[in-house]
Symmetry: C2
Subunit: 656 residues, 2 copies
């Protein structure tokens, strides 16, 4: 039972229901030692920070004294944690010792028996760069065990959820295949397994490949757990790529090694001991100076370091969540990936999958696009604009440049001769910006520093191809002889309303179709704000009355439809574009403007991106309402839980 509340990239804030308890993702599960005497950080601190922990069912199973308590009182009592408890199955021990003393189904059964909330199948963790033959064989064994475990669960009506781990070593087609097969089997959560050796080798680039190939195969409506990844430097990028759950033994393991975690890397305590203050203000670091901790006895030092490590781990997860809410997760990742060259390499690798990621990336974000270096040129916001610019049916194009002294938006700050010519300004980041749409996110809502020459020439190819594609419609490039003579021509003398042309182009850019035909244009009024002078509303004269069709939303200048606008869109955009089709059974609710739940979506425009403005219709394409889709086209079909479309309003059947 997983639903999406907010998102950026493939990252999301989700709500996951587990046995009646709800957790918010992304989150981190501290690894708890099942033997309370061996647990480093006091459970009070863990409880304060965590809603879910993970412990090892195989250790409990193997140690009679732990097993007895767990079987009698349950795993929650054993470890002293009453929120969600996840368990691993012993596959880690398998990876270390080669074999273990429990059968695959036995350990699944045991996990249910001791009252685990989320158990894990006994998958086979094939290490990176294993023989392909081995990887394939072990992957198949993992899948077989997965299938049997699920059957066991179904037959016996297990209460616990089940983790279906993805394997396949570093063969990306195997990872994808494993994800597709396991993904079709209806596990509750999908861990990505056997990545620890990659982390140990700083091979974050391959980690990115593994995550993304697994994601490509997996259903979108299940959370993904990046098994064994607990270092805070990796949270931002892993969440961006679609991981929702993390577990951290790192907080304790690093502490045992006298190592101090930060979101940008790890220090040896030795190297910090001469600092007056720790570079952290957590309760531990506020209480002790580095020298004091350095001089503690081994046991105490470990405990104190583990506690700090746990604090910064959760701190970083809060930052990641905040970034998602703001629509600034890419920015956070671009920041974090500078903390180690291997991380930068990983981010560069991730950008090679931009086409896949872009499908999940919201079309609009609350915070602007921040350019943080050459890599930013490959972000989905940029790639999407270069695709969507072609949605506009240009007829007369004038391509030009604008002096860098002119501030954005050019359309408001330059004196432009009124005409139906589309003026496109060369832009170092976005390639070409049509002045008619230059208010729209991210074209206006972007911050770019002065660029290097190599960055400035990045879009040459794009511009060249654009010119080639539109060559018969281009009047001028840079010089404006034709443009001027056209402007003075008779043809241009027919009354031109630049504002209407602008709205026409904005709607084409936003929806991909021509919404304003000649008939509509005659009746349209564009209203500017008296205060700012900027366009605010688009109205139509209908039966002598003026009705608002669209309002420009202040933070992104998207044209947000009213009911009247939705009807216009519905009449101009061919089915199934921009449609979310719902089941008859919820037609009434939709018409009342109530949220559309994913469960009732029967079809949709598969090309939808999150946060697009959509039309909610029934199977006969009758308009029921309109709102913002939380999910993209693929997710709309795959999710069957939670809200799919945040409705702005409904259309009563009388209205139509």
């Amino acid at each position: 039972m997983f639903q999406i509340k907010a998102r950026d990239g493939l990252g999301k804030i989700g709500k996951l229901e587990i046995n009646g308890k709800t957790i918010e993702t992304p989150t981190i599960m501290p690894v708890i030692h099942p033997d309370p005497d061996k647990q480093l950080v006091p459970m009070e601190t863990v409880k304060k920070l965590a809603d879910v922990v993970i412990t090892n069912s195989y250790i409990i199973y193997s140690k009679p004294e732990l097993r007895e308590i767990a079987e009698k009182k349950g795993v929650h009592k054993l470890i002293g944690f009453d929120k969600v408890v996840v368990t691993d199955s012993g596959s880690f021990q398998l990876s270390v010792y080669g074999s273990i003393d429990v059968k695959p189904l036995e350990i699944v059964e045991f996990q249910e028996k001791i009252g685990v909330d989320v158990g894990t199948i006994l998958d086979i963790p094939t290490p990176p760069y294993a023989d392909r033959e081995r990887a394939e064989k072990e992957m198949e064994e993992t899948i077989r065990r997965g299938r049997e475990s699920l059957e066991l669960k179904r037959e016996n009506n297990y209460k616990m959820l089940l983790n279906g781990t993805i394997q396949g070593s570093t063969y990306m087609d195997l990872r994808r295949r494993c994800a597709e097969i396991m993904g079709s089997m209806n596990f509750d959560i999908y861990p990505i397994g056997a990545v620890v050796p990659l982390l140990e080798k700083y091979d974050y680039k391959t980690l990115v490949d593994v995550i993304l190939n697994s994601k490509m195969g997996l259903p979108t409506n299940k959370p993904v757990h990046l098994f064994g990844c607990g270092h805070p430097t990796l949270f931002a990028i892993s969440v961006l790529l679609g991981c929702d759950l993390f577990d951290s033994a790192a907080y304790a393991l690093y502490a045992k090694d006298d190592r101090y975690l930060t979101e940008n890397g790890t220090y040896y305590l030795e190297d910090l001991k001469d600092l007056k203050q720790f570079p952290c203000s957590c309760p531990v670091c506020s209480e002790y100076s580095p020298r004091e901790v350095y001089n503690m006895d081994k046991k105490e030092k470990e405990k104190v370091l583990a506690e700090h490590n746990l604090y910064v781990t959760f701190e970083e997860m809060s930052r990641v969540k905040e970034a998602i809410r703001e629509g600034a997760l890419w920015e956070l990742v671009e920041l974090r990936c500078r903390s180690h060259p291997r991380l930068l390499e990983a981010y560069r690798q991730a950008l090679k999958y931009v086409e896949f990621i872009e499908k999940f990336d919201p079309v609009t974000k609350k915070s602007g696009f921040f350019y943080s270096g050459y890599e930013s040129l490959f972000r989905p916001e940029v790639i999407r604009h270069k695709e969507r610019i072609h949605r506009i049916r240009f007829e007369k194009i004038y391509i030009t440049t604008v002096s860098k002294d002119v501030e954005k938006p050019y359309s408001e700050n330059l004196k432009i001769l009124p005409s139906d010519v589309d003026i496109l300004v060369k832009d170092d980041v976005f390639g070409l910006i049509p002045l008619n749409i230059d208010l729209i996110y991210p074209l206006l809502q972007s911050e770019v520093p002065e660029l290097y020459d190599i960055e400035k020439s990045h879009n040459k190819k794009f511009v060249k191809e654009f010119i080639e594609r539109y060559k018969d419609r281009i009047m001028d490039i840079v010089t404006y002889n034709y443009y001027i003579s056209y402007y003075n021509s008779k043809e241009n003398k027919k009354k031109i309303n630049s504002d209407i042309i602008k709205i026409d182009r904005m709607l084409q850019y936003q929806y991909g179709f021509k919404i304003l035909d000649e008939e509509v244009i005659k009746r349209i009024i564009v209203r500017r704000s008296k205060r700012t002078g900027w366009i605010r509303n688009v109205l139509i004269v209908k039966d002598g009355e003026k009705k608002v069709l669209f309002t420009l939303r202040s933070y992104d200048n998207f044209l947000i439809p009213t009911a009247e606008g939705a009807k216009l869109l519905h009449s101009k955009i061919p089915y199934p574009k921009y449609r979310v089709v719902v089941d008859r059974s919820v037609e009434r609710f939709a018409r009342e403007g109530r949220s559309v739940y994913a469960k009732f979506v029967v079809d949709c425009d598969r090309d939808l991106r999150p946060y697009e403005e959509v039309l909610v219709v029934n199977e006969d394409d009758e308009l029921l309402g309109y709102g913002t889709t939380i999910l993209n086209g693929r997710e709309l079909m795959e999710f069957n839980y939670g809200v799919a479309v945040d409705m702005r309003g409904g259309i009563s059947d009388k209205e139509q």
Copy 2:
């Protein structure tokens, strides 16, 4: 009384003595409201975090009730802080109100009277982009007041130190001139003034210009205070560019505005209120949830936010200090500058001054060179290598490439035919790496991700120019026909000791002169570690005995001389190169191997960089000892306090 303890870039950890109290720089002075009722953060928290605070002497002067207490009990008692108290003079009020009610010398006198530790002249803060005429006139007035204030201080034997503020608006020649003139007047600390409007406009690029042009004019032995800069995002870059002191009213001002500081930017509390936890673990953020703080009454909220803001401010300064100690300040700056495009722009601007900065940047660092993006190609470590490669007197050059599967160091991991040919490998970052020196920092100690093509072609020009310059000495480029035939030739049959050739090149690279002549080479033995197989020591046979000349230092593979090695260097490097010349009066101490204090340095090699291995000599160029210089050539001449050379050993006069 300022001395340098550790450094990176123009940044340094310094020790500043003020009226018998010692503070460590860089540090931040919280701005304390002189009226205790108006002070937001409890002084207990301030005392816990800060060793120095700043308050406003003009407010004290203008408010009879405050003035009375200050005159009677002193400023320390007034604000309740017994460590170092700095005061501003009212020039901020001047910038806001245009005029104030106190005479320049009067306020200086008043500051001394109330027992201030560091007072400030009443400078005139010309805003950015003012008329040049005005900027020049006001700058001259500031200088005049500075001169008179210093006279007043001298005549009356003031106890307090005096801040001599640098003005000049955004005219860089004026800033430099002002810095030179004020710099010649022996103030104790040099604030850079009137930068707040730049901060407010995010014009960090101009801020960089202002800082660096001021630094160029100022003496190196006085700390610099970046007046009015208290946002933690700016600490790393400002310290890198040579600022030592900061003051923060920001912690309180932002709090009043419901804003929450982080090292990467500022949030409105409003935007955080839905987070479960703050992205911080300071005592405040550990105690309250965002929602709880959001719901507090105005007064309480302000106090809580101000406290958090102060914590993160000091946290960031700890990070900056840790980075300096590690030699990773560039890395930290490259990380921080990604948090805002204007900061990235500022960093790019700073790199334009790399030639100036490089003179102060240590030749070796404990941590490696981390590549964080295209900008890294312009760092001083890279620029310096491209200069110093020419120190080697190449005779036969073979330029080649190495497959990216081969790991560094190539010299140890490739099978190389023994010969006296210098093999230079093309390198995307460092241009060309001679295999004979490829162990030396930063050539081996660097981490670089997979690069983009545009990065890979960056060094084309450098390589081309190198080939042009050495064209008559190049045997082969990439193909190795000549190299092979030379290798098999009679000429190459004379016994070649590759290890000695390697040491020869390493010494040339490190010192710029040929140290091993034919005579010496005959008697040299290079010893490799039995464990690692790598070169460890260089020995010489002298009077039948083997004596160690140099040892390779493990973290950077610099050749560290023994006394014997120092004597060899002294005989081969012409005066004044690599010399620090000390006064007769300390000759005895130097010969005993005791630290050389800056005060007694009478001359030196002006091209020295920090952390170079130097020869300490007397005015007759007799070798007294050898060690590591903490200061560069310019600083060695300007400092007259603290250690200049960390001595490794002395040379008794009998030995010579």
